[in-house]
Amino acid sequence: MRQTTLSVPLEVKPESSARLTDLIEALRQREETPPLGHPQEYARIMRDVPSLHFMSMSVFPSHDYDPLFILEANFDGPSGAFWGQIEAAFGEDLRAMLRCCKRPLDRDGPLYDAVTAPDSRLAVAPYFEARTMRPSVFHHGNRGMTRDRILDEAALFLAIRDELHEADSDGPSPYRGASAAEAHQKLRAALLPAFPWLDHRAPKRIPLTERATDIVRLLLFAVAAVFIVSLPGIILQAFMRTDRYLIALIGLMIAIVVLLFLKRKPLPGTEAPGKFRPIAFLLRHSLLIVLMLGAYLLIAVPVATGLHMLFRGLGAEAAWQPALRAVLLGLAFIPLALLALVLRLRYLERRDSWHDAPHTDEQSLREMVRREDWIAQNHMGSIVLIKPGVLRSIIIHAGHLGLGLLLRVKATDGYLGSMRTVHFAHWAFLNNHSRLLFFSNFDHSWDSYLDDFIEKAHAGLTLAWGCGVGFPPTRFLVLDGASHGRMFKAWALASRAVSRFWYSAYKDLTVDQIERNARIATGLRRKSMTEKEAGRWMLDL
């Protein structure tokens, strides 16, 4: 089943910020104090909001804006059903929280009035739906795994443990001495009565149509991006002879390369060690780049031929040659366009300011520390201001769009790069795109989470967050930046807010363990295995 990630940012009346914080805290305390008959904390949410994986509520203070209340949710299926569940579980709590928020000045104002009126009985869900913000980039660790499936397979894992542990309590274990395939069958037979769903095939985590849509969307993005970057070249070639066009192109490229070479070094004191090598990265992905350019050619040449036929009244035979020329010369313009962009960016980077010692509120810091590391997972929410400028704005928006589409295609097995610690994470733009929001529900401690990223994915991190005001100095968009580990952590910490309310539906499970459970369950769903398959499968037990 498709999972959904969203957040609802609501501006808070400054005078009601403390009240809102109290309401969120009261809700947390109520859910953490199970009533009689409930087996565990958050049991009510487990029961009444069965689609929910993770949810948080935070109030972000700011010196530049009024406080912002953000409800973040990650759940199964479409949002309408989810909001229906939330309405039933927390409707009146959310209404009280809404009353602490500002009335929006756009067309949602009347809905806010109706929902927050004294003694209002109108559902709050439509208002939250109306104010929902879709992420610019998101990552789902365990793609396509519903909450119930995760819980069922976790229960199966524990039952397997018990079965193997107790198998020899009344005599020799039946699994001892059995071949791997026999052990698989015995274990399946032992667990089937308690887990009858093992007799059914596992639902497909990523249906073929979803997969195909993800790939097509990425390809369309690539084609559009190539077209936009090559567009100046396509226009120029119409007014120039091919040889002059190419000479001009090469001449300009050489000039820009020389300038870039001269500016390549970091400013004094801003160099940071990093393993990322842009040229090597491009070479490693050269096949993908060639494939994308091939896809572009396949689409662009027929389209350009058609346009020539339409506007110049040419026949197909006469039209395809100038069309091909235009497309190829447009492609030839891309390196120049990219080099020019990087040069301009480098100019900006050399004049950027950064935050050596960002201010962190001591009390908030203590609150954050107090709430962390109680379970296997943790949560963070952060908001940063975005650096101004048209170029940066274009880069960050196009970058987020492309990164989001790329993650949908590549991150399908829990891994984000080489890390498998993120359950749900997303970025989103706030306040007319002047701020960038980030939420993550991750495994292990905040420190180790960031260390992981600094160590293994500093380039991606720099690319995604380098647009933030105060971010450590960057070079060529992806270098340095997050590699300034201490500075980056201080910057990230200062941008965080206390996660006042945070819910996880499976607090003992890491992304890795969920994938392991899924492999075990998938194996047990099979009636038989070859010895080799069973041997491999047993490594997970």
Binding site: D48, G84, E87, A88, D113
Partner: protein, 422 residues
């Protein structure tokens, strides 16, 4: 019809209307889910003549919840049944409503539910066992319900007449007679006084028996009437003879006629879905009452008690205010809260056309919502699935051959469904 013959009639349902008009009406009812679907999409709050219809989940809930603007329209007919004695079903959220409700809540207790559930199952089991492989389900559920709830409330069968027929006819008048049939009214004018007299006589009889025996009720029987009389004796307010009589009449009219409508409908829905039927049977055999209730509740969603419940606007009110579909309902207008449609609204109910016995409670609006949510919802929650349990436990449960194996309806009432097993 002669007064005595009306009271003595054993025909629980009035003869079903015949002819082209009736056929057309039945077809229209069959098309209702499709019409609701179109309305939810294109005209969520529609106006049809003088009637407004709210079809989306959010709007139906708002309509039920906003009792300050939408009142129940039951009082006029309720007065006919009770002889003018007020009952909380016909009231707004007033002190009288709350005290009337509390009076009944004090005698219809949560700790009775397990006994009622067990009683429903035992009675159904006895009837199914005696039937020997073939049974008519509407009659089965009707016998179980009226027997069980008659005993529970302390209202016995009248000497000359049938409680099933009396209560169902009054129920039809109160809730399902939108056309104000003169023929039905004539019958009600006979049945209602008889019903009141019957209950009043029983109150008197039980008081006498209690006074003589030292305990309320026959043999110290602990039923709702006995509890009322005990509280009356303790001078608790809300338990005058008139109030007890009205409450018991209304409980018998409002409650027992409903299960013979919805439970056979639920079984019909299960029979249409072999996988769901198989799941429900597994739950019935394993003793998983919670799981079984899930199956029956879900089956009822596909054919609920009624398409909707009416409310009357007591003041001008904008429904779904602030949304694109907002619509002003003028004071005095009648609005149908189409809960059948709301439970199929994909905006709030995930995969509404999929049979999912594990849905969360808020997706169901079987018994209304907020102020006038059905008083008997907890009793229904405890007993409806238990009435079907003995049947579902049977191996080889199937429809009988021919038309009688398919649920037939008489207006809003389930009329006949025969199943076999073994």
């Amino acid at each position: 019809m002669h007064e005595a013959s009306i009271l003595a009639s054993r025909n629980v349902l009035r003869p079903s209307p015949r002819g082209l008009k009736a056929w057309f009406a039945r077809r229209l009812v069959g098309l209702m889910p499709f019409a609701f679907r179109l309305m939810r999409r294109f005209k969520p709050i529609a106006k049809m003549g003088s009637l407004y219809i709210a079809t989306r989940h959010d709007d139906v809930r708002e309509l039920f919840a906003t009792d300050t603007a939408f009142a129940v329209p039951y009082k006029a007919k309720l007065d006919v049944i009770t002889g003018g004695q007020p009952f909380f079903l016909g009231m707004g959220d007033t002190p009288d409503y709350r005290s009337g409700l509390k009076a009944m809540q004090d005698v219809v207790r949560a700790d009775d539910l397990p006994v009622l559930a067990q009683g429903a199952e035992q009675r159904a089991e006895a009837l199914v066992q005696a039937a020997g492989g073939r049974i008519e389900v509407v009659g089965l559920v009707r016998d179980v319900t009226f027997g069980l709830l008659g005993d529970y409330f302390g209202v016995p069968e009248p000497a000359a007449g049938s409680l099933q027929m009396w209560a169902t006819r009054l129920f039809e008048f109160q809730f399902a007679d939108s056309g104000d049939s003169p023929e039905l009214r004539a019958q009600v004018d006979v049945i209602a006084p008889a019903m009141r007299a019957h209950v009043a006589a029983e109150i008197e009889r039980r008081r006498s028996a209690g006074g003589a025996g030292g305990a309320w009720g026959d043999g110290g029987k602990d039923d709702v009437l006995a509890r009322c009389l005990a509280l009356q004796a303790a001078s608790e307010p809300g338990y005058s003879d008139g109030e007890i009589r009205t409450a018991l009449v209304c409980m018998m009219v409002g409650g027992p006629p409903q299960p013979p409508m919805v439970v056979p409908q639920a079984l019909e829905q299960l029979l249409r879905r072999p996988a769901a039927l198989s799941g429900a049977q597994a739950a019935a055999r394993d003793g998983g009452d919670e799981a079984l209730r899930g199956y029956v509740w879900e089956a009822m969603r596909f054919d609920p008690l009624a398409p909707g419940l009416p409310r009357v606007a007591t003041r001008t009110w904008t429904l779904a205010q602030g949304t694109k579909r907002a619509r002003e309902i003028p004071a005095g207008a009648t609005v149908l809260a189409a809960f059948a449609s709301a439970m199929m609204d994909e905006r709030r109910v995930p995969d509404p056309h999929t049979f999912d016995p594990r849905r969360t409670p808020h997706q169901y609006i079987h018994f209304g919502h907020r102020l006038h949510e059905c008083f008997g919802r907890h009793i229904n929650g405890a007993t409806l699935h238990r009435m079907l349990k003995p049947l579902l436990r049977r191996e080889g449960l199937r429809r009988a051959h021919g038309r009688e194996g398919r649920l037939s309806k008489n207006g809003p009432f389930a009329e006949r469904l025969v199943v076999e097993w073994g």
